[in-house]
């Protein structure tokens, strides 16, 4: 799978979130590749879903690509709950 995580600058919370999502993927035997981007750079990225902190997710309009907003990005259990519907074994 390919996941894009977004934050205001693309170097802090989005990276933390991407690392957590990759860990969760491992738990389910799913290899997740991805990249952390800033708010100006997610457009046109091909990915299975976009994840971001809820305050950032509100500002993302990605058309057909699902956007997952996560209020507490260090709570792995919460991240897992939110992204589980979008995890697909290839």
């Amino acid at each position: 799978m390919y996941v894009v995580t977004g934050c205001g600058l693309g170097c802090g919370t989005s990276l933390m979130l991407l690392m957590s999502i990759q860990d969760i993927g491992k738990k389910y035997g799913i290899e997740i590749e991805g990249e952390a981007v800033d708010l100006g750079s997610y457009k046109g990225k091909k990915c299975d879903f976009i994840a971001a902190s809820s305050e950032i997710a509100k500002q993302i309009d990605a058309g057909d690509i699902p956007v997952v907003g996560i209020p507490n990005i260090i709570d792995k259990a919460e991240i897992e709950r939110q992204i589980k519907p979008f995890l697909v074994k290839e």
């Binding site: 205001g8 170097c11 802090g12 919370t13 708010l39 809820s54």
Partner: protein, 145 residues
């Protein structure tokens, strides 16, 4: 890694007299500036980021991680820890009020990733978060890292 980075000069407990997010961000940034790790422009960029992008740096209940994009004003990868006496609102719908602030100044991709990983590991532990909100000495902080 956090043990090496969070030195006594960049850590403050029970800080009083902070009434706004801007003051909190400046206070946490000034600790890094005073210790010679960043320039003042980085502190102001963190405040600008807050104004432009909103309160998303409040990543979890009570915890803010202000940061900005470095451009020659971060001399060394660094992090500060500020615990407020009175929690304040950053305007986040879910995670207010903010009690602790980690200002991050990243430089060098690999090291920066390692720092974020260490910080994620620390903050992934709910017991440790509660302790971070109440401890009052550097020794206690070191034990949590």
């Amino acid at each position: 890694m956090l043990k090496d980075i969070l030195t006594p000069d960049v850590v403050e407990f029970n800080v009083d007299g902070i009434d706004s997010p801007e003051e909190a961000i400046r206070f946490s940034g000034k600790l890094l500036e005073k210790s010679g790790k960043i320039k003042n422009s980085y502190v102001e960029k963190m405040v600008d980021s807050f104004h432009e992008l909103g309160p998303y740096s409040v990543i979890a209940p009570g915890i803010a991680l202000p940061h900005a994009t470095p451009s020659g004003d971060v001399l060394v990868l660094c992090l500060s820890f500020v615990q407020l006496k009175h929690p304040i609102s950053f305007g986040h719908p879910d995670n207010d009020p903010v009690k602790i602030i980690f200002a991050i100044a990243g430089v060098g991709h690999g090291e920066h990733l390692e720092l974020l990983q260490s910080l994620s590991a620390l903050l992934g532990n709910a017991d440790k978060i509660e302790k971070l909100k109440t401890i009052s000495s550097f020794d206690e902080l070191q034990k949590l890292l």
